[in-house]
């Protein structure tokens, strides 16, 4: 059972570069989420989606973009990477039960 799969696991970017963090789930969940987690700061919601074609901003959306063209995939795009985006990024999915299932995370450093 794959659950929520995030790629890559690690990445180092230079300032100004762009990249896409991939997230895929195989549980047919309608709801998907992107969080960032900084040391001692807890999980902050970046963007979320309640179904294919529908996305909404969370607490910290600036500098990020998302799309949801299929139920399974919810990629997160960083257009112009900044050092402040150095963090661990988690993707999660949920059915209507509100319980969230998380991926293993992507560790991103922007230097």
């Amino acid at each position: 059972n794959a659950g929520v799969t995030q790629t890559p696991k690690f990445r180092i970017l230079k300032i100004g570069q762009s990249m896409t963090l991939q997230c895929a789930q195989d549980m047919n969940h309608n709801y998907m989420y992107w969080y960032r987690q900084d040391p001692g700061m807890g999980l902050k919601l970046i963007y979320y989606s309640v179904g294919a074609g529908i996305t909404d901003k969370g607490e910290v959306p600036n500098g990020y973009n998302v799309s949801r063209s299929t139920t399974e995939d919810f990629p997160l795009r960083l257009e112009l990477a900044a050092p402040s985006q150095t963090s661990v990024y988690f993707c999660a999915s949920s059915s209507g039960s509100n319980i969230q299932y998380f991926g293993a995370g992507t560790r991103l450093s922007v230097l």
Partner: protein, 113 residues
């Protein structure tokens, strides 16, 4: 929107004792509250959900209480073991639409043998 606080950043206890973690929220009473466990380098894993009309929920050595008057949930691990060492996060609905969660910063529990 909701605010959520986990008062202790770290809790150290001896094996066999009961660990008690606290989660407080402000504003309106949520329909439910959840607890997750996070190990270093891994994503959070769901443990328990308690609804507003439930005072207490148990799962093996875990117990969660929910007091809507105090706006507080307590998370207990009885007969704690070193394997229980992890960070524990509480979460509740971000707003009354209920489509997303907000998480506390977590309490890191260390159980020594």
């Amino acid at each position: 929107s909701q605010k959520i606080e986990q008062n202790s950043e770290a809790l150290n206890i001896q094996e066999g004792k009961t660990a008690t973690l606290t989660c407080n929220y402000t504003n309106y009473s949520p329909a439910y509250l959840q607890w997750y466990r996070q190990d270093p380098g891994r994503g959070p894993v769901f443990l328990l959900l308690i609804r507003e009309n439930e005072k207490e929920k148990r799962k093996e050595r875990l117990k969660v209480t929910f007091d809507t008057t105090l706006k507080q949930s307590l998370f207990h691990i009885t007969a704690s073991q070193p394997a229980d060492s992890a960070t524990y996060l509480c979460a509740l609905e971000r707003d009354q639409a209920g489509t997303a969660l907000i998480f506390g910063k977590g309490t890191t529990l260390s159980v020594s043998s």
